[in-house]
């Protein structure tokens, strides 16, 4: 994080300031909504893409003043950004301010040579592919459109277009997934030599169609799947990947920092601007969350208004709790003595957790041990004063 961004993130509540160096852009459209998904998405509606992008760019214009001149990162997420009509997608990417890292999320089935070149031409430096699994039966449970070969082909297509920073998303803990399935998924992913891997345990969120259909089975399998997170970490670190965040791994070759810079900034507590439906911004003492309705979003911006959104005020203590919560997810030491953070940390608990082998002291910072990271939620809750 730059000194300026770091300073900005420490400012007191209710002040939105300029100089923000991280931008998130939400393109909500998808070919199909997967059962487990709880992102803001809109299925189909190809005819709406152009109008949505008009609104998105209008919002970018309105908010441009909070952004610093050169940005560090831009992240285009969804939905399936690459499902967006090529013309609308091109206009979006074209309008984005330049940044050192520009990531676009893509689903394998959308990755054609034409798309790959479109992204390249638009200075996209990093592609995050929603692979999720290489097992057909698990992809079926997850209701993914792409098959295993689509994933492989999409990686090759991107490589052919010159992409040298590709991330794969994998999901584990899928109903019906055996330990062997997990091993095979990891091996298949590693065979593609991605620069970065995000591995998430499937979260069956209450109220989703998925939980309705698979909740009971997941509960039954909970015990068997308990060790999956450990298997993921062992396998990937064994293959030379750095476990730099709870669910994220990167190759550590040739001096390149292959961590996801956009997310890394957020985990370090930087401010970020989010535009698009459902997008969240954290700007000093304010967190804004745009409402999820595409129609209302488009209408508001067409009328020259700000998009409908809710605002949450974050006081210094709340931001300190968040910085602790996020900072402890990383493999780099977190400075508990920093202004503000000190007040929310229970020194006795820190001592206890250190003795219990869950926390390591590194200079004036702390870092969770591997086991501490597996129990990160409980450890963080324990650490809070």
């Amino acid at each position: 994080m730059t000194p300026a961004a770091e300073a900005a993130s420490r400012l007191p509540a209710s002040r939105v300031v300029g100089g923000v160096r991280h931008l998130y852009v939400h393109l909500p459209f998808c070919a199909h909504r997967c059962g487990y998904c709880d992102f803001v998405t809109a299925v189909g509606r190809r005819e709406e893409h152009r109008g949505y992008v008009d609104a998105l760019l209008a919002e970018l214009d309105r908010e441009r003043r909070v952004l610093a001149g050169p940005l560090e990162t831009v992240f285009v997420g969804g939905g399936t950004p690459t499902f967006t009509e090529p013309e609308a997608l091109t206009r979006t990417l074209d309008a984005l301010p330049p940044a050192a890292e520009v990531t676009v999320e893509a689903n394998p089935e959308t990755v054609t040579p034409a798309l790959a070149f479109l992204l390249r031409d638009q200075r996209v430096s990093r592609v995050s592919l929603g692979a999720q699994s290489f097992r057909p039966h698990l992809l079926g449970v997850l209701e993914r459109v792409a098959g295993p070969d689509d994933v492989r082909r999409s990686v090759h297509t991107l490589r052919d277009a010159g992409f040298d920073n590709i991330s794969l998303d994998l999901i584990y803990g899928v109903p019906g997934q055996s330990a062997a399935d997990l091993e095979a998924d990891l091996a298949d992913a590693l065979a593609l030599e991605p620069e970065h891997l995000s591995c998430y345990e499937l979260e069956a969120k209450p109220g989703t169609r998925f939980t309705h259909a698979h909740g009971e089975e997941l509960a039954r399998q909970a015990e068997a799947m308990e060790g999956y997170a450990e298997r993921v970490v062992e396998t990937l670190t064994g293959a030379g990947y750095r476990w730099y965040e709870t669910a994220n791994f990167c190759r550590s070759d040739g001096g390149r920092d292959l961590r996801a810079q956009h997310n890394l900034a957020i985990w370090r507590g930087a401010d970020y601007l989010g535009i698009g439906v459902g997008a969240v911004s954290t700007l000093g003492g304010e967190r804004r969350r745009n409402r999820p309705s595409v129609a209302r979003y488009v209408a508001a911006l067409a009328d020259g208004d700000a998009p409908p959104r809710e605002v949450e005020h974050l006081d210094a203590a709340t931001r300190a709790v968040e910085r602790l919560m996020l900072g402890l997810r990383l493999d780099e030491p977190f400075t508990v003595g920093a202004a503000g953070v000190e007040d929310v940390v229970d020194a006795d608990a820190l001592e206890r957790l250190t003795l219990a082998g869950l926390v390591d002291r590194v200079g004036d910072g702390v870092r969770l041990t591997p086991r501490g990271r597996m129990l990160g939620g409980a450890v963080t809750a324990e650490l809070l004063a």
Partner: protein, 596 residues
């Protein structure tokens, strides 16, 4: 009223044999309550009594019948409230014994009849529910007359529900029950057989005037407690309070004492006048001794003073309730309470929760133990945690239990009683199909889960009653529970040596289910002394972290974290292990749960 025209009586019956319905019909038939005012279970004023269809507290109501003044003193039917019954009976000259025409004599019928006979009461036997299709009035009448030694013709056959022959019951009361025989001109003596607390008027005493006359406004003296007060108001219940100028010898009524301190007047005391008062009190009641004990703890420790006040108020009209402060490392500040039995315990708990709006944790009940110390002294122990690890000798209370059961279930009942260390006493056929079994059983076995087992093994057909038979030597062991290597005082229990292993095993198994997984392995052990008899482990969590956390998730994740933090604050720390209060509750209610 001339004493010769007064009749004081109780109605005694097994639960559900129609005591309250008969009382309701009597109130209607004597026009004490108008049709408009009538509601079911008129005399059961507590919400709890109506709901459960039982009478807990004695109530006295005066009715007029053919020129006579009849005082009906309602009594509880359940075994736990035998002391209430005997109290009420002491204020009476007679009792109406109600038996269900379809069920016949039950265990409580026997217990109550014996009590009435012990108190020299004239018994008017009544067979109720003759309108039921399954009724066998002749069979029931034969059983009753066999029991009481009269002729079946003397048994009044009624339907309290429809009112058939209820007038014959009233006539029989007037004809057969003797009038009171006190001294109208002697210094006054009135027996306090019950009391209640009115927040505006203070303590209200229910009395039976034995000798003399108590006029309103007279300065009174409670002879046992030495408390002085003025009779602010005297009167009788009909069933609401009706003030009168004076209560005369032989009459039953109430006295508004104005006393605000509930501990200053005890049930069983004798009231007299301060001037020209009686020299000697009436024979009081035998002190009732609680035999079942449990810890009561407020869920919220801030409620401790409220719990203390509530117990004090309940104690006023529940002489059998015993309590003393108890501190538990696991559950905080509370009270060790003594009860007459399990129903008494449940009633007290429910009254505390309903009438005083308290949230309570109740530990598993245990009985009183008598322990011989090294110096040869015998002490009574009410809490397993206070039991010495290696006592010289221990005695436990035994009961004489009577079980009435259809003959097909005799084997099942005998098997159960034997399993529960029972000693067979005798067996008797009440009729061709029904058998009375008498056993001596340790009370500790009964408070464990005897009722449930009896019910399930006899398909609910058994009826059961008991009275305390005294203390006997017991081969008992104290089982301690250790969580994370530390003893949890509230979970200690005392069991017979042969059963200790099973009980300890059950307890640690249940705890393993209830204690959430922690960041480290948590051993749960049951031990007798230093010998571990059962062990379970709550395996450490392997993973407790939310996989995904990006810019859009932060608020939600923070809230989840704060919730997790808050949840931890509600946990009790035992040996460095966070134990949710619910875990204690679930374990402590192990027996209670099964009962429902």
């Amino acid at each position: 009223m001339d004493q010769s025209r007064i009749r004081n009586f109780s109605i005694i019956a097994h639960i559900d044999h129609g005591k309250s319905t008969l009382a309701d019909r009597i109130l209607q038939l004597t026009e004490t309550v108008s049709e408009r005012e009538m509601r079911d279970q008129m005399l059961d004023s507590m919400e709890l009594e109506r709901e459960r269809g039982i009478t807990i507290k004695a109530q006295a109501v005066r009715v007029q019948w053919k020129g006579h003044e009849l005082n009906l003193i309602d009594t509880p039917g359940h075994v736990d409230f035998t002391y209430e019954v005997s109290r009420s009976l002491q204020a009476c000259e007679g009792a109406v014994l109600v038996v269900d025409a379809a069920q016949g004599i039950e265990a409580q019928t026997l217990a109550n009849a014996y009590l009435a006979i012990e108190n020299d009461l004239e018994i008017v036997p009544v067979v109720n529910k003759i309108d039921l299709p399954s009724a066998d009035p002749d069979g029931a009448a034969a059983e009753v007359s066999e029991l009481l030694g009269g002729s079946p013709e003397g048994v009044v056959r009624i339907s309290a529900k429809t009112g058939v022959n209820v007038d014959q019951v009233l006539d029989a009361i007037v004809e057969r029950i003797p009038a009171p025989k006190g001294e109208p001109d002697a210094p006054p003596r009135a027996l306090v057989f019950d009391s209640s607390y009115d927040q505006y008027r203070g303590v209200i005493a229910f009395v039976r005037v034995v000798d003399g006359r108590l006029p309103t406004g007279s300065p009174l003296h409670a002879m046992a407690m030495g408390t002085d007060f003025d009779a602010e108001e005297l009167g009788f219940m009909a069933p609401q309070r009706v003030p009168v100028d004076a209560l005369e010898a032989g009459e039953v009524g109430y006295v508004v004492t104005g006393l605000k301190d509930v501990s200053r007047l005890r049930v069983g005391d004798t009231l007299t006048t301060r001037r020209g008062g009686a020299r000697a009190p009436l024979p009081g009641y035998k002190e009732v001794k609680p035999m079942v004990f449990a810890g009561l703890f407020p869920t919220d420790s801030d409620d401790y003073p409220e719990l203390r006040d509530a117990l004090e108020k309940l104690k006023l009209n529940d002489a059998a309730l015993f309590y003393e402060p108890e501190t538990s490392q696991a559950l905080g500040f509370g009270f060790r309470c003594g009860f007459l039995g399990l129903l008494h315990m449940e009633i007290v708990r429910e009254r505390l929760e309903r009438e005083f709006d308290l949230d309570l944790l109740v530990t598993a009940p245990n009985v009183a133990y008598s322990v011989k110390e090294k110096n040869g002294d015998w002490v009574e122990v009410h809490n397993p945690a206070d039991m010495p690890r290696d006592p010289e000798e221990v005695q436990e209370p035994y009961v004489r239990a009577q079980v009435i059961v259809p003959k097909d279930y005799v084997g099942a009942v005998m098997e159960l009683c034997t399993e529960r260390r029972g000693r067979f006493d005798h067996m008797e056929y009440l009729s061709e199909t029904r058998v009375l079994l008498t056993y001596e059983l340790p009370l500790g076995e009964i408070v464990y889960d005897f009722y449930d087992q009896l019910k399930s093994r006899t398909r609910g057909y058994a009826s059961f009653d008991y009275d305390i038979a005294g203390f006997r030597d017991g081969e008992l062991a104290r089982v301690d529970v250790l969580v994370g290597g530390e003893q949890v005082d509230a979970l200690s229990l005392i069991a017979h040596r042969d059963a200790a292993y099973e009980r300890g095993k059950l307890l640690v198994e249940r705890l393993r289910e209830e204690i959430p997984r922690q960041m480290f392995d948590v051993p749960i052990q049951a031990a007798i002394g230093s010998r571990v008899i059962a062990r379970e482990t709550v395996k450490a969590k392997r993973k407790d972290v939310l996989a995904k956390c990006y810019g859009g998730d932060i608020s939600r994740k923070r809230k989840l974290l704060e919730k997790q933090k808050k949840g931890k604050k509600r946990m009790k720390q035992v040996g460095g292990v966070e134990v949710p209060q619910e875990a204690f509750l679930a374990v402590l209610n192990l027996d209670g749960e099964k009962k429902k």
